[in-house]
């Protein structure tokens, strides 16, 4: 687990850019796309596209495979699951805590009302 935070940092860093998020969304709709197909919707040059793909690949969010002259990019959603799991820790923490807060506050309310009678 030593690299857990590093991996999260890379995932969140990679997801923090709208172009890269759009690329991921595109890859999610299609089962893989070539680099030039991926570049098409963006008004950026191929080297910039390659740079974004490097960031996504470093974070483990995409894989690239070469067949002849065509590089096919595919989505790899595992790091995203890990990032969501991290967020779910907080979600669980608060959901469970607040459930008990509700129970406690409601018992205090009942107590306060019975005292008044």
């Amino acid at each position: 687990m030593a690299n857990y935070q590093d991996r999260l940092d890379r995932t969140f860093g990679a997801l923090g850019d709208p172009t890269r998020r759009a690329m991921l969304a595109r890859l999610e709709r299609a089962d893989g796309a070539s680099v030039s197909e991926l570049a098409k919707p963006f008004s950026i040059k191929l080297p910039a596209v390659m740079k974004h793909l490097d960031v996504l690949a470093d974070a483990g969010l995409v894989t690239r495979s070469k067949s002849g002259r065509v590089v096919t990019v595919r989505l790899r959603p595992q790091p995203m699951r890990e990032a969501m799991e991290w967020l779910r820790h907080y979600e669980r923490f608060w959901s469970e805590s607040v459930d008990r807060l509700v129970g406690y506050a409601e018992s205090k309310e009942t107590e306060a009302r019975s005292k008044r009678r």
Binding site: P77, M84, L87, E109
Partner: protein
Amino acid sequence: MMSLTLVRRIKARPSIVFDAITTAEGIAHWWGPDTGPVLVAEADARVGGRFRVRFRTLDGLEHESSGEFLEVIRPERVAMTWRWLGGVEDPGESRLEITLRSVSEGTELTLIHSRLHDEVSRLSHEGGWAGALDKLERQFLQPAPKVRSPSAM
């Protein structure tokens, strides 16, 4: 910027809910993700005052979070900074805001835990976090069994 929002209705008046949140005695009754015990609860609920909570989860691990009260408006609103001791869960400082609204049945509580993973989101700030993870969640993840869909925004 990543945040988590939770809204609950409680059949208790706001002042009772407020005290449950801002006093050590109250916190000791509910804090933590499972039924494990709260070991230490300290809360000096005034602007600049500190809170510290140490609890043990049922897996035997101990966790501690602490922070500083930024806003204390009884019985409506409390805001504080938040940091996990040891930085295992999250090395950065985040922010917790709880707002209480009086409703006919008692209180509507809104809890917002924001600035999660702050350093990272600062680095990638130009991307903007709003909605990003929520969208990605819908795009990429199948709902996991027995885990409620996160209300991440």
